[in-house]
Structures are given as C-alpha cells and as structure tokens.
C-alpha cells in the first residue's frame, strides 16, 4: 500500500501542472475552470464544455487535441486553429480579437465564461484517440501561441 502511495505521489509530481486529470473539471493556474458534461464518450458524440473565471483579456482556442509532450503546444487538434470561428470541432473565444477576428471570435461572457457543444471524433487526422491520449483542450490563441501557461487538458476516454 505504502509503495503504491509513493509511486502515485512520484507519478503525480512528474506530471505538468493542469494535465491529465481524470475528472470532468480542471482548474488552471490562473483560477480558470474548464468543465465537460462527460469525459467518457463515444465517437461522434456531442458534449457540453463550459468554462468560467477565464482571463477575458486573453483569447483562447477550445478544441479536442492529442495531448502533447509536457511543455509542447497541443497539436494536432480537431477543427484546426479555426480563425474562421466556424464548425463544431474548435472554437475561438476572444473578447478583444484583432480587427480580422471581429465577428469571428466569440467574446467571453461576464465572469470569463463560455459554453459550447463540441462534437467529439475519435480520429484527429491520422491519430486515433483510442490509441493515443486526447483531451478537451484550451490554449491561448495565435496571438500568444507560444504561451503554454494557458494550456488546459481534460482527458477524454472513448468507449
């Protein structure tokens, strides 16, 4: 039992902050909360993903992505970058987008909130989320694409 506990602690410490939590909700380092209606899904299912207390001055993408190595940008993601702001696979949420993003990005609701229904596909490009780890993913938009502090992963499991 003690051995299991030690291994669990070591494993936990080795993981990057915010990642790989087997839960329907995760809190980021700035207090932002990402929640999914379920994280055990079937292919092509539609799930509801909500966020609250996000920093409204930082635009984000919400998508299903393959979980990358710690510290790397999440990629590939279903729906791509989605600067066009359309589709059910990824969403651009920004209250203060550049001029070309006005009308394309959705603004945050007061309280740093958003709510979307996302269609979940087990295939992201050539990757099969039954074989690789995938997650409901939030990352800073392309204006801060190198900033990993806004990355959040809510892992999903395919039935």
């Amino acid at each position: 039992m003690r051995k299991v506990l030690i291994l669990s602690l070591l494993f936990g410490l080795a993981l990057p902050q915010n990642s790989y939590a087997a839960s329907k909700s995760i809190t980021g380092e700035f207090g932002e909360i990402l929640t999914a209606s379920t994280t055990t899904v079937s292919d092509n299912a539609v799930i509801t993903v909500t966020g609250k207390r996000f920093d409204e001055s930082v635009g984000i993408y919400l998508a299903i992505c393959v979980i990358p190595k710690p510290g790397f940008q999440p990629t590939p993601c279903g729906g791509g970058v989605n600067k066009a702001g359309v589709g059910e696979g990824s969403f651009w949420i920004s209250s203060n987008p550049p001029p070309y993003g006005i009308g394309l990005a959705d603004p945050f609701k007061p309280g740093g909130r958003f709510s979307y229904k996302i269609r979940v596909s087990k295939k992201i490009g050539k990757f099969d989320c039954k074989k690789v780890k995938c997650a409901i993913t939030v990352r800073a938009d392309h204006l801060r694409s190198e900033d990993r502090s806004y990355d959040l992963y809510l892992p999903i499991t395919f039935k």
Partner: protein, 313 residues
C-alpha cells in the same frame, strides 16, 4: 552634449535610469523628425515622451503639445517598444489644451520624459531634453485639434486616469474642436471598445483608449490617449428572474447563477417560506425575504450580497 555618429546624445537626469540617445536636437525645422533610442529602460513601467516647455520648478510641465506624445512600453498599444527606434515629431509652435500658444523659437521647449500611467506618481525617470528650433523657419504649422472625452459622464484626462470597474460598461463620448469625425481604439487587451462602449475585462491594471481626430483646415490631426485604471467590479443578480409574488403552498426553483456565472446560495428566516438549495416553498401568507450570496473572485469582482422579497398570497 557630444556627437556620436552624426547624432546627439541627450543629457540624462542624474537619477533617471533610462538613457536616451539620438537627434537631431538643434537647428530644427518647424516640423522635424527626431530619431531616438533608449538604453537601460526601467523595469517598473513604460515611459511617456511629451513635447513640453521646459519645466520651471519641481512640478511636471503642463504646457505640452498633445500632438507630440508617445507611449514607450512593452504593453500592447504602446507607440513604440522600449528597444525600437523611436520617431518623435515635435512642432516649432503649438497650442496647449488650455489654449496657450507656445512658440518654441521664443521659449525653451523640449522632450519631457516620465513614467507612464502604470507608475505615474514616480518622478525618478522624469527627464527633459531641450530642443532648439531654427528661428528663421516660419513654415506654418496647424494648431493641434483639441479632443474632450468622457466615459459614463466622467471626463477623461491624459494625465489623471479615471477608474473603471470590471464589466461596468462605460459609454465613451468625445468631440473635437474641429468638429471632425473621430475614431476610437482600445490599445490594451484589458478593455474592449464596441459601439462606443468601453468594457473592462479585468479588475486590475490599466487600459488605454485612443481617440483620433483627422483635423481640418484650421486644426491639425491628433491622437489623444486616455489611460484608465481598472478596479474590481461587483457581481449581481437579475432581480427580474425572481418572482415578486407566489401563491401559498406553491414552490419555485430560483435561478442559482449570478450575472458573472457564480453559484448562488439562498437563505431565509421568514416564516412565510422555506428554501432548500434553490427551491423555495411558500408556506404562509406574508413576506418572504431571501438573502442571496455568491462567491467573489480576487482582483476581479466582489461576490453577490443581495436580498429579494416575495409576497406570498
């Protein structure tokens, strides 16, 4: 002052950290272009570069040219980043916002440097670089347009920022002496400016609202920057979402989300009703007073603390 590669090294105040290099600073035409660069940029905040008359005492000069002002900062919306080649365009003559005509061929003018609005009360970077204009150059320059603006009825100032609370919408109204149509821009991501309404997206920090006039035949074009300090807001409830009257023995599920999406808690000590979670049951005729609370978020908004009364009939 000594010459380096054809440019002039500006004198630096004894206690100022930033060192300004560039020029020309003498024999200036009526509308010169001065190229400057900064080394040892301070870490506390950005800097403003303003064309003003020479300070005559310990206070900052006020006879400044609104059309020759730059914000040097790493923040989004600044005119130049600290490491950029800074292009400063003063004028041989200008009119201050109080209507005073300044002729820099007759009075001492220069570039006044100071901390930006993020550290506005710190004078340690205050510095003055004198400029000398050619006396014979009488090329006419237009007097800069004058812009007055307000948010939510509070007058905006370039030097004394107003405060705006998180998510408290503020209607921006502005006009120019020239009567020209103005354009508006929020230079900081912490504020949006949509359809003339400024909304703070954070409860701390600062925003910068730019108002631009193209000028006209009488007044020169100008962009004026109005800094705004942000303060935490107040969460609330939609009173309309709650009933004001109920029939006895009926029940109702109360909306349990605040305006900012926080989960609300309900309590009552009234004998006319009972609340369990957010389900209210009318027990007796009379007033049912509910207290409603919700959590706040540090540095963003204070939580809900409100009451609502329902008459049980």
């Amino acid at each position: 002052m000594f010459v380096v590669a054809g440019l002039l090294v500006a004198p630096t105040a004894a206690n100022a950290q930033a060192k300004i290099i560039g020029g020309p600073l003498i024999d200036l035409s009526a509308a010169p272009t001065i190229n400057l660069s900064i080394t040892d940029f301070p870490s506390k905040a950005g800097l403003y570069f303003l064309q003003c008359t020479a300070p005559t005492g310990p206070t900052r000069p006020t006879a400044c040219n609104d059309a020759a002002q730059l914000w040097i900062s790493s923040e989004r919306g600044a005119n130049f980043t600290p490491t950029a080649n800074i292009v400063f365009k003063p004028a041989a003559s200008y009119k201050t916002r109080t209507g005073e005509e300044i002729d820099c061929r007759k009075v001492s003018c220069g570039i006044y440097i100071r901390y930006d609005h993020n550290n506005g009360t710190d004078f340690s970077e205050d510095n003055f670089i004198a400029l000398k204009f050619k006396s014979g150059d009488n090329t006419p320059t237009l007097v800069s347009d004058e812009i007055t603006a307000s948010i939510g009825g509070v007058a905006l100032s370039q030097r004394n920022p107003i405060t705006l609370a998180y998510r408290a919408p503020g209607l921006l109204l502005a006009s120019a002496k020239s009567g020209a149509a103005l354009t508006y821009k929020s230079y900081a991501p912490a504020c949006t400016l949509v359809n003339g309404v400024v909304t703070a997206l954070k409860g701390t920090g600062a925003c910068d609202i730019g108002v631009t006039s193209p000028g006209n035949a009488t007044y020169g074009a100008i962009e004026v920057h109005f800094p705004i300090y942000l303060t935490p807001g107040n969460d609330g409830i939609v009173h309309k979402a709650y009933p004001t009257s109920m029939k006895i023995y009926k029940s109702v599920t109360l909306m349990n989300e605040s305006l900012f999406g926080e989960k609300l808690k309900f309590k009552t000590s009234s004998k006319a009703c009972r609340i369990s979670s957010n389900k209210l049951i009318a027990l007796k005729r009379g007033e049912c007073l509910i207290s409603i609370t919700g959590p706040g978020v540090a540095n963003l908004f204070a939580g809900v603390k409100d009451t609502h009364t329902i008459t049980i009939q």
